[in-house]
Symmetry: C2
Subunit: 456 residues, 2 copies
């Protein structure tokens, strides 16, 4: 029987702020690894699923990041965020249109940390058997302490699912732990496509109805008009809580959803004082603390049970037991329209990345990094003048139809309204310093003359 992998990569970036952001949530981060969580999720599946059978579904705003990280993988883009049920149904529909054999789909979040691949595979094999028998399979971790940051699944003695419950308070979590029938919800599912679509038809007919009108025959794009009509609902609520075909497989491998800085601390090796120190950190006498520097020096003295996270444009300082409260900070920033909840100073694009390095009245300075063989779209700006200084590699610049080859040290003026593009046909990355000037310095002031993913 064919098996497909579906990676859900639509998560927002609130809980590991300021390292994760709305426009760069945690699935894209390299955490203790040279691969991102998303890339690790893909590679884990690719150990037993054909790469062409692995599909990723994400929000349109993350499409460029997913494509950059997963290369040739098929990616479905949700035009708007609609929770997991519409996403999974669309992906199931997409798969049935390409494979009529009623395959099995394994759905996994893109941001879990799982280290033991063999136990992961053997756990999935157990799930596969149940899926073939017609069950919708969930995977649950046996709790070893009363965690309040996870959802729980309650099962019967023969591992049929009785109920899904949201994140509990401490007392309730302790009760769940004592009962022994509650498992942490990993967010992983496995089912035969026909089984899922039948249950959707029964319990979420509204979604089923709209899904019928979606046709993926001609493209991978989820039609915006149809998708927007779908209700925003999780697969747990839409189907799992109602269907009697839900079984739970105990998740045997290690698992952590990195849902908080506390989890990050827990999953890392400690030094002799119980500290996790990452990056440029100088410590004296701290205990049981996490100090994470991503750009500049952080000096820690005498901290206890404290989390310090430093990024290019924000610092978090918090007591470890408060790490779930970061959501409030994030929401406050969002309410204040403060960019800090949303964007990093460095923005990744399919062609490379750029970093804002300075900003003042009437000007903005960026360092633009274009990967070998990549290019930015032909574009122009109505309100700003740009000046590019090449500091490394050889840049090919098209300006007003004329081609310029600029080696390090060379510069060029891009007048207001002049169509221009930046290309790197070489095998070496290039870096340029861009000085923008104008009264309006907005990412929105851009007219594109080609339709490729690539934003400056």
């Amino acid at each position: 029987m064919n098996i497909y992998g579906l990676i859900l990569a639509g998560g927002s970036g609130s809980r590991l702020w300021p390292l994760s952001r709305e426009l760069y949530p945690k699935q894209f981060l390299n955490i203790n690894s040279d691969k991102s969580l998303l890339q690790s999720a893909f590679e884990r599946l690719a150990t037993f699923i054909k790469p062409e059978n692995i599909i990723c579904i994400t929000n349109a705003k993350h499409l460029a990041n997913v494509k950059m990280q997963l290369g040739e993988t098929t990616v479905l883009a949700e035009p708007v965020a609609k929770n997991t049920a519409p996403a999974i149904v669309c992906a199931a529909k997409f798969i049935t249109q390409r494979d009529s054999s009623d395959p099995i789909i394994l759905v996994v979040p893109s941001d879990s940390l799982i280290k033991n691949i063999e136990l992961f595979q053997s756990t999935v094999e157990k799930g596969e058997k149940l899926a073939q028998e017609g069950y919708i399979v969930t995977f649950g971790v046996k709790p070893n302490y009363p965690e309040t940051g996870y959802g729980y699944i309650n099962v019967t003695p023969d591992f049929k699912v009785k109920e899904f419950v949201e994140k509990p308070d401490s007392a309730t979590a302790q009760k769940y732990l004592d009962k022994g029938t509650y498992f942490w919800n990993t967010g992983m599912f496995m089912f035969k496509v026909s089984v899922l679509l039948n249950e959707i038809e029964r319990f979420a007919p509204e979604i089923a109805e709209i899904a019928k009108s979606i046709d993926f025959d001609k493209s991978n794009e989820i039609p915006c008009a149809e998708f927007e009509k779908m209700p925003s609902i999780s697969i747990d609520y839409a189907v799992m809580e109602k269907s009697d075909k839900i079984a739970l497989v105990k998740f045997e491998s290690d698992w952590n959803d990195l849902g908080s800085w506390q989890s990050f601390y827990d999953t890392n090796e400690k030094d002799i004082n119980g500290n996790v120190l990452v990056g440029s950190v100088l410590d004296k006498d701290s205990k049981n603390s996490l100090v994470y520097s991503s750009s500049k020096l952080v000096a820690a003295i005498g901290l206890e049970d404290t989390i310090i996270v430093e990024t290019e444009d924000a610092v978090l300082a918090c007591k470890k037991y408060c790490s779930q409260d970061i959501k409030h900070i994030y929401e406050t920033l969002r309410a204040q329209n403060n960019d800090a909840h949303c964007v990093h100073k460095t923005i990744y694009c399919p062609w490379g990345y750029y970093t804002e390095i300075d900003r003042g009245k009437g000007f903005l300075v960026k360092r633009i990094h274009v990967n070998a063989g990549q290019r930015l779209s032909l574009q122009s700006h109505n309100h700003r003048h740009e000046h590019w200084v090449v500091v490394s590699g050889i840049a090919k610049v098209l300006l007003d139809g004329q081609e310029h080859s600029l080696e390090p040290g060379k510069s060029i003026d891009i007048p207001v309204k002049a169509p221009h593009s930046l290309q790197n046909p070489s095998k070496k990355d290039i870096e340029i310093i861009e000085v923008q000037r104008g009264d309006i310095l907005s990412e929105d002031d851009i007219i594109r003359y080609e339709d490729i993913y690539g934003r400056i």
Copy 2:
């Protein structure tokens, strides 16, 4: 009787790191004020001393900063750091060569925080009387708790000084407090020049001898050869502990030497939760903490008795009671040759300031701010090429003998070895983005063709 003010501004920047640095110590910082501590010290003296009778003595490396902050004030530069005795003796010599009336000198540190000017003045008046009677007057604060961060002065019942003691440990500090005869040493002194020089002659003849050979008749410069021969010793050790002419005046005004972040916290108004929050700070549930942001957003959650200080290039996170340990961090950085103990990303110069905004292999980007009417010296570089982009104001650039007037958006290349200067003859400040390129990008790679203070 003539009275002179002498401001000692040679302090290093270890205790309020990372806000203060070796090259920008705390006397130059604006702390809770639009004036720096040095400027405040000057203005406090200028309420009763003629400005032309106020002299500042500092280390040569701080000369540019002092001149920028104090304008026309007479500044003596120590060629090397030699503690307070040689500095005060040189300044006394300088004053006697200009004023033969045997004036009184009031010596004050440049970095004390004193708010009540009237009480300061009345305290000084008391000191002046004793100085006229031939005493060397010290000023001591009656302690109200057993501070371990200050030196103490022990007095007889009639306020003659028995001994000076260094920073004590807690038990000793408590003993001093209980005795009631110990005062915090403010580092302020007052004396008739002849009295001090006599006592120096008696107790530090080596210094007296060298001082005789220094002649300030022709310039304000302390001759390097002579000064280097002086022993490095504090005025307390050299004279105060030995002379029987030392009296103490109780310092009646408020006083804080801002010797630690704890002091900084103590001297600031707290919010309802006992927090001092400065700059771009978002707090949730913190208590009795200091969170100081000087550049980017700092989010604090649930902190207790904690100090967070954020600057452009370093973050300090420390328990409040550890704030004296910052010296260790500072010393560690110094031992590691880590610039972070020494320089800020922004360096102030007499003509304005510059900020390093980016750095990579083979390039360095700065924003250079030139104040109205100011200029940088004519200079050239043997190893780097520079490219200047004007982003605000109109820059006059002299390059290879030719003059260029560059308005915003205009740029110019400065080839390796080409003599060039940057001038701002206008009434509006200018800002340029400088992109340096080369294998060696060092501040030392500079040949100056004029001798003015001005370093880029």
